[in-house]
């Protein structure tokens, strides 16, 4: 019974990873790709580890639980950092005609051009 549950969880996890990869290929812009890869990908990975953990003779539960906990804790940080960096680096966004943040980003650039100034000051003041 536990074995069947573990197999089910691992299959589900691999399915989520597959869906995340398909989204990574098919979605139109960088932010949507980030969304697909980080959310569905992390859920798939966590499910695979959970399945491997359920097979009691294989794994120490502490390591698997720690991995899942770490994935779930760092997922929002990684996704937010990637999305922020993708937006600030000026990747084209699909289907967004009026970007409400565009004037502010443009003003930030004209005041402090990226090419000539020490970039650390810009990112630190932006936070």
């Amino acid at each position: 019974m536990t074995t069947l549950a573990a197999i089910l969880l691992m299959t589900l996890g691999v399915g989520f990873l597959l869906v995340a990869a398909i989204g990574l290929v098919r979605l139109p812009d960088a932010l949507q790709r980030m969304h697909s890869a980080t959310k569905a990908g992390t859920l798939g990975t966590a499910l695979v580890i959970l399945g491997a953990m359920l097979l009691g003779e294989v794994a120490r539960p502490s390591t698997g639980l720690l991995t899942i906990l770490f994935l779930l804790v760092t997922l929002p940080f990684g996704a937010q950092l990637l999305g922020r960096a993708a937006y600030l680096s000026g990747t084209p966004l699909a289907d967004i005609d009026d970007d409400p943040l565009a004037p502010e980003v443009a003003a930030d650039r004209t005041v402090d051009p990226v090419t000539s100034s020490p970039p650390a000051a810009r990112t630190d003041s932006a936070r």
Binding site: T3, L4, I7, M10, T11, G13, V14, L17, L18, A20, A21, I22, L24, V25, A30, R33, M34, A37, T38, G41, T42, G44, T45, V48, I49, G51, A52, M53, L55, E57, V58, A59, R60, T63, G64, L66, T67, F70, L71, T74, F77, G78, L81, L82, R84, A85, A86, L88, S89, G90, T91, P92, R109, V114, T115, P119, A120, R122, T123
Partner: protein
């Protein structure tokens, strides 16, 4: 204990996992912007973590779960570093 060959199951799942690996690699090679490549890198590491968990099942060595833990740790640091780099690099 129940007549299921876990090595075979893990092998089939790992073979299935080659498809996400190939798709993410395609996006990484193709990706029009640098951000796309970084996103694909994130996805590749997630697939690698899943691979090592499946290897732990197939071989019965729980050490591969430690590999998964370390990979996910390194993944977060790499994502943060890449994001900072991309942010500083700015447009282009």
């Amino acid at each position: 204990m129940s007549g299921i060959d876990m090595g075979l199951v893990a092998g089939v799942l790992a073979a299935t996992l080659c498809a996400p690996l190939a798709l993410a690699a395609w996006r990484m090679l193709r990706g029009p912007a640098v951000a796309d490549r970084f996103v694909a890198f994130d996805m590749l590491t997630a697939v690698a973590v899943a691979f090592s968990a499946l290897t732990a099942v197939a071989t019965g060595r729980s050490g591969f779960l430690d590999v998964a833990l370390v990979l996910s740790l390194v993944n977060f640091v790499a994502t943060a570093a890449f994001a900072l780099f991309l942010e500083r690099k700015g447009r282009g």
